[in-house]
Symmetry: C2
Subunit: 212 residues, 2 copies
DNA sequence: GTCTATATCCTGATAGAC
DNA sequence: GTCTATCAGGATATAGAC
């Protein structure tokens, strides 16, 4: 019925949704899940609570939307690197690690990891979605780079779980630490991201170095 | 006044405090800070809310008590290892890493890191105390082992921040992941702590191996 | 699709008896 | 030191007009 009018309405509705998600993500990152009330969200979105409930069925639904929204963007950089045939295995690994630092520390979905831990017991399906739709694809992309290098003989084979442990562990902890100590005035000198990333990459390449 | 009666009263008061702290720590770990109400705490302690407020000035005070309570215990294992003159530098490092896994993953204060991140913006002094009283002593203990080994020529010198990044990163992330995915039924096969610890220790010793 | 107004419940915290 | 009783406020969520 009146399909000609449906498109612009749908578009404006989708725009509102996206605007709400964007604003709310910032609030969640700043104050945590439980620390952010629907009233606060409504005010920040220049709306009333009732309008929020028109777009989202509840606070949990809104949170899931915020988390899920960033998946594709954050994963995109990684998939592009894996598919780039002009790079050597080592170049791919270096680029992938750089991308992981970038997304984990600066992208909303990466910075939201502690929040997901916060709500994971109340909403197990949030943790599950985070795992299957975000963590696993990251691991698979990184592992594909490693396996390609091994197949070409430029990387030594490594245990998958142990490699992931050393590859992702420092990055996630760095992100968590920076969130936890966000009030420190000398955050960047205390956590010098670029220097840590370079040293970390060397360690990973050391694990993969053939010989001995 | 009536000093002879004061001791048992003080003792029972201290016992109550400790019992409350112990019970509440479990609740915070299970449901997060904001997810745990004073009513819930009171019920779990077989008390009324009013009695809780006799022992603690408020929810924040109680939380700080829970976090602070575990510092000494968790740090103790590490200081014992550092002081043990019968061990070689490599043995000390192995023992220290094992102790770090143990305390970070199983001790309340270690498992509470995500909670501290949750409340750090609302209560910056909690994050500050965590840093100066728990994180820094851990780093200092580990660094003393490294420096001793370097002085004796069995370890190669390394950059402090980069070493900490690789040493603590995987452990903290492992703890966070296990909290986040606590609902998984195959938690120990997905995060095989002992195997990851062994591989991690090898990586750290590789960073410290003298000669190129 | 956004509003005003309201329902219902739970929160942290306190007063005062015992 | 623990209780009963209660407060004032804020939480999520909904009803219904426009």
């Amino acid at each position: 019925m009146e399909t000609s009018m449906l498109d612009p309405e749908e578009k404006s509705k989708a725009d509102s949704r996206e605007r709400i998600i964007h604003t709310t993500t910032g609030l969640f990152l700043e104050k945590g899940f439980a620390g952010t009330s629907m009233s606060t969200i409504a005010k920040a979105c220049d709306m009333t609570k009732a309008s929020l409930y028109y777009h989202f069925s509840g606070k949990e639904d809104l949170f899931i939307a915020c988390v899920t929204h960033g998946y594709a963007t954050a994963l995109n950089a990684l998939t592009v690197i894996v598919a780039d045939t002009s790079l050597t295995a080592e170049q791919k690994l270096r680029a992938a690690i750089t991308a992981l630092y970038e997304t984990t520390i600066t992208s909303p979905v990466g910075r939201m990891s502690p929040l997901i831990a916060e709500v994971s017991r109340a909403f197990p399906k949030v943790a599950l979605s985070f795992h299957t739709e975000y963590i696993e694809p990251q691991r698979e992309a990184l592992w594909q780079i490693v396996e390609d290098g091994v197949a070409k003989g430029v990387f030594a084979p490594v245990d998958q779980n142990q490699f992931f442990h050393i590859a992702f562990g420092p990055i996630v902890t760095l992100s968590l630490s920076r969130e936890m100590f966000a009030t420190f005035d000398d955050l960047d000198t205390y956590f010098p991201v670029d220097a840590l990333r370079v040293g970390h990459t060397d360690v990973l390449l050391g694990m993969l170095r053939p010989g001995t």
